[in-house]
């Protein structure tokens, strides 16, 4: 049985950032992910915001982690070479009644230690001319920002791999190997692995992992589905983050510019029992539309280029702070009932924002658990960004093409993604071996034609680079092959 010091279950942004934080120390670390790629859950389907922290319940772990993590993103994004823009965010009031709510929101933000400012309608319209002219003003949180959440996953896991962490995809956790009350390993779909510690970062499945260790039997994840629209950047440009005045259950339907330049609209919030329920519904899309048009009336359905849904891992953990009545807090703990388990559960929004602080907290929990963390000599926090043809100036593009002609061939015409970029992802530290893996990394196939043009070409490139028949090339995991047989082959 292969032996590790620490095994992380789950390759979402929490697992990936934790892997990176642990790669700093002299530890043998394995991250397992049940899907064919990292970041396929909530980490690649969310609002892509680094929250200022105005919204969480004051005193909650959510508020604390948000506050600690927000300032970390400048360094994290610079080290990892990922797009991040501290644009600030606006909570936009429509009509006089909503303007009255801003003062209460400001007070809550201040309790969370978040800097805010109230703008009048004129100032709001000046800052975002597309906003509903019926606006009565806004609460501005200057420290909010936007990030590419999948890039955050991939860059942090690549940096972890550079520093010695191992990663297994298509590997599902199936149970613990215990010695009395002590975890000594795990069973997976790919065999057993020994370890001294397990970090449970299993997202919507984090309750099941806990229960497998017979801890926190009353903790339950009830996923909440959020649906989104992505709009064509040629049709509409918004460079701000616009929140509505929130309801009791959610921050509401947002309209925001993404680091890719597209406007993102969503999410709604629907509780679901099924942990794979990422279907988009007509009702949900209608709801998002209504919310979006309230903030920006000029948004039209014509400009939609993608619809998708993500699942929030909403838990039912009580807030541990005395006097704070809150039941959906993060769980970030060394499990009480067993040795060797760290639970990172119920990590919904602001989970993406909180990720670097949560990763940091894991190292502290390990120390408290008696782990002597010694820094590795030669640990390198820098993960160099790979070239993105479309982000370069014409001169830089010309130089890149001269250096490697594969960057001269555009494979995805809408997003201008080159063969060079695709090949680089296929041979990256965590190889992108499926179409969707390349899509999430390069943003290929996300434009107006949604991959109709590039798909056959990318399938060919994957087959060539991986030395596989084209019939083995998949969209995502096993069973998602694009092509079934040659045309003249006789059906069996």
């Amino acid at each position: 049985m292969k032996k590790y010091d620490i095994i992380i279950i789950g390759g979402g942004v929490i697992g990936c950032m934790t892997a990176r934080a642990l790669s700093r120390f002299d530890l043998k670390v394995l991250l397992i992910e049940r899907e064919s790629d990292i970041g396929m859950g909530a980490s690649s389907a969310n609002s892509a915001i680094i929250h200022a922290g105005h919204d969480p319940m004051p005193g909650s772990l959510k508020a604390e982690m948000n506050r600690l993590a927000n300032p970390m993103w400048d360094q994290v994004s610079a080290d990892l070479g990922i797009p991040f823009k501290r644009s600030g965010a606006y909570i936009v009031a429509i009509g006089e009644d909503e303007f009255g709510c801003l003062a209460a929101l400001k007070e809550r933000a201040e309790k969370n230690g978040v800097l805010t400012e109230i703008f009048n309608a004129d100032e709001m319209l000046k800052r975002e001319p597309l906003v509903n002219p019926a606006t009565s003003g806004a609460l501005f949180t200057p420290t909010a920002g936007m990030v590419d959440p999948f890039a955050a996953c991939v860059a942090s896991i690549e940096n972890a791999i550079q520093n010695g962490v191992e990663v297994l995809t298509d590997t599902a956790f199936t149970g613990f190997i215990m010695e009395g009350k002590k975890i000594i390993g795990i069973h997976t779909s790919q065999g057993d692995f020994a370890c001294r510690w397990v970090v449970n970062a299993a997202g919507t499945y984090s309750d099941e992992v806990m229960h497998a260790a017979e801890t926190r039997q009353d903790f339950k994840i009830t996923p909440r589905r959020g649906e989104y629209y992505l709009l064509d950047k040629a049709e509409i440009e918004i460079n701000n983050i616009l929140f509505p005045v929130p309801s009791k259950v959610s921050k509401g339907i947002l309209v925001l510019g993404s680091t890719h330049g597209n406007v993102l609209v969503g999410p709604n919030s629907q509780t679901t029992d099924y942990k794979e329920n990422k279907a988009v519904t007509p009702e949900g899309l209608a709801e998002i539309w209504q919310g979006a048009q309230k903030l920006v009336p000029s948004i039209t359905p014509r400009s939609v280029i993608a619809v998708f849904a993500g699942l929030r891992a909403t838990g039912n953990a009580e807030c541990q702070t005395p006097g704070v009545n809150y039941h959906n807090d993060f769980v970030i703990e060394r499990a009480g009932e067993v040795d060797g388990l760290i639970n990172l559960a119920g990590i919904e929004s602001p989970g993406l924002t909180a990720a670097p602080a949560i990763a940091q907290r894991v190292t502290e929990l390990l120390k408290e658990g008696g782990e002597k963390l010694t820094e590795k000599p030669g640990w390198n926090p820098i993960r160099p960004a790979r070239p993105r043809f479309n982000h370069l100036t014409r001169e830089e593009q010309a130089a890149l093409v001269a250096q490697d002609p594969r960057y001269g061939r555009i494979v995805c015409r809408c997003e201008m993604i080159t063969e060079g970029e695709i090949v680089a992802e296929i041979h990256a530290p965590l190889p992108a071996r499926t179409y969707d893996a390349i899509k999430r990394r390069t943003w290929l196939g996300t434009g107006r034609c949604l991959g109709s043009f590039d798909m056959p070409r990318v399938v060919d490139i994957l087959a060539h680079e991986l030395n596989l028949p084209v019939t083995a090339i998949r969209k995502k995991g096993a069973g998602s092959e694009f092509l079934l047989r040659q045309t003249k082959e006789v059906e069996a």
Binding site: A234, I410, R448, L484
Partner: protein, 425 residues
């Protein structure tokens, strides 16, 4: 081949519109003519259209797509058109400077005296028709499936449902059936066919493939691969009719839900786009609002027959050659052509009556609502009927053409604007 830095005419795209434009520019006196094509060989989408039905108007012959293309490719080489293949244009400026990139030729800038935009169109996707459900493998546009089957030689599925009665969808229904697949159903949200009637007869009826009008897809089911779709009937406003849902097991859903002219490069160059056609506003010589930038074929509006695309390319190429030789002409008084009763759009948007001296000008349009009875296609100036033509019926899937003869030159000149209508006889 060495690529020059200067060309008289540069054509973007080597589909039927681009090939015709390049040949015509060369034949009409342009010296250096270049076609830039992003694929590794010329011909455009015709190369994957291995079915027949091409060339009935132009050659009076019924050809498969690649044969039709090859005739023009051969001619282009014969007359000395240069080709820059496997090369993507990144940018065109108002003053005709083209930036392009290529694995074979590197990073290039080329100065043209005139440019013909012939980028064709792209297919509408599931997002644009806002299809609900999961996002598994097995949801493709009909054109992507067509490339896989006809060019690459692979089958993307076994059991298909096709959403949309566009021509590519119906043609793929037949093609997939030939290759041993089962096409369970074709669903069309509109109460009428969106493609050509001949394709309905030859591709669906002849193979007992059921077409359900006023039906759409309510849900896509499957995690890794499509497992089924949920079909539903819709009312006149496309609202689902409760109780009509039906689960159809299948592993692939093909979309044939419309084509959109591909005009991102045009927009960058400052070309104004008609929101109805999604193509440039053009005059009768297919010049856009930017002097020296022409456009031809499906980039202007989506045609039903390739023959008309070729014809448009010939006109655009001739106009470009004329500009190269004569320089810019003084602004003539142009006449606006407007879409009237039951006409969704009309091309060209403006015309120069003096051009009628060179021969007839074809006005082409799409009808808004089908009329399954004899119709008049009317051209009016105000209330005054200038010209009309009878047609046995008018269907949105089939383009309507009315030629303006040179004899009408004086009357067109006197008109402020022309209005085109399609009315019941």
């Amino acid at each position: 081949m060495t690529i020059k830095e200067h060309y008289d005419v540069v054509v973007i795209g080597s589909g039927p519109g681009g090939l015709a434009a390049a040949i015509s520019a060369k034949k009409n006196g342009a010296q250096d003519v270049l076609i830039i094509e992003r694929d590794i060989e010329p011909g455009g989408i015709l190369l994957q259209c291995i079915h027949n039905g091409f060339g009935v108007e132009v050659f009076k012959q019924d050809l498969p797509g690649p044969s039709y293309a090859q005739r023009f490719i051969n001619e282009a080489y014969q007359v000395g058109v240069d080709f820059l293949l496997d090369t993507m244009v990144l940018e065109i400026t108002r003053d005709h400077r083209i930036t392009a990139t290529s694995k074979r030729y590197g990073f290039l800038t080329i100065q043209a005296k005139a440019v013909v935009l012939a980028m064709g169109c792209r297919e509408r996707t599931r997002a644009q028709v806002r299809l609900p459900g999961t996002r598994p493998a097995g949801v493709y546009t009909a054109g992507t499936a067509q490339r896989w089957v006809n060019v690459e030689g692979y089958m993307p599925g076994k059991n298909f449902v096709i959403l949309g009665s566009g021509d590519i969808g119906m043609i793929m229904a037949r093609r997939l059936t030939f290759e041993g697949a089962k096409v369970e159903r074709v669903l069309e949200v509109m109460p009428y066919l969106s493609g050509l009637t001949r394709n309905y007869v030859q591709c669906l009826m002849d193979f007992d493939i059921e077409l359900q009008l006023k039906h759409t897809v309510k849900n896509i089911i499957g995690k890794k691969r499509v497992e089924a779709i949920e079909a539903v009937a819709v009312d006149d406003k496309w609202n689902y009719i409760p109780g009509t849902e039906e689960i159809i097991p299948c592993d692939t859903l093909l979309l044939s839900v419309g084509l959109i002219p591909e005009n991102e490069l045009s927009r960058q160059a400052g070309v104004l786009i008609d929101p109805v056609t999604a193509g440039p506003f053009v005059d009768d010589g297919f010049q856009t609002n930017i002097p020296g930038i022409y456009s031809a074929g499906n980039v202007v509006h989506v045609y039903d027959l390739v023959d008309w695309v070729t014809e448009a390319g010939l006109i655009a190429g001739k106009s470009a050659a004329r500009l190269v030789q004569n320089g810019p002409q003084p602004d003539a008084k142009t006449i606006a052509v407007k879409a009237g009763e039951n006409v969704r759009y009309v091309v060209p948007h403006t015309l120069n009556p003096d051009h009628l001296a060179d021969g007839e000008i074809r006005i082409q349009m799409r009808v808004r609502q089908p009329i399954e009875a004899p119709v008049w296609v009317e051209v009016r100036s105000g209330e005054k009927l200038l010209h009309r033509k009878g047609e046995p019926y008018a269907r949105p899937g089939e383009m309507v053409t009315i030629p303006l003869k040179p004899a009408l030159m004086d009357e067109v000149k006197a008109a402020g604007e022309l209005t085109v209508a399609i009315v019941k006889r």
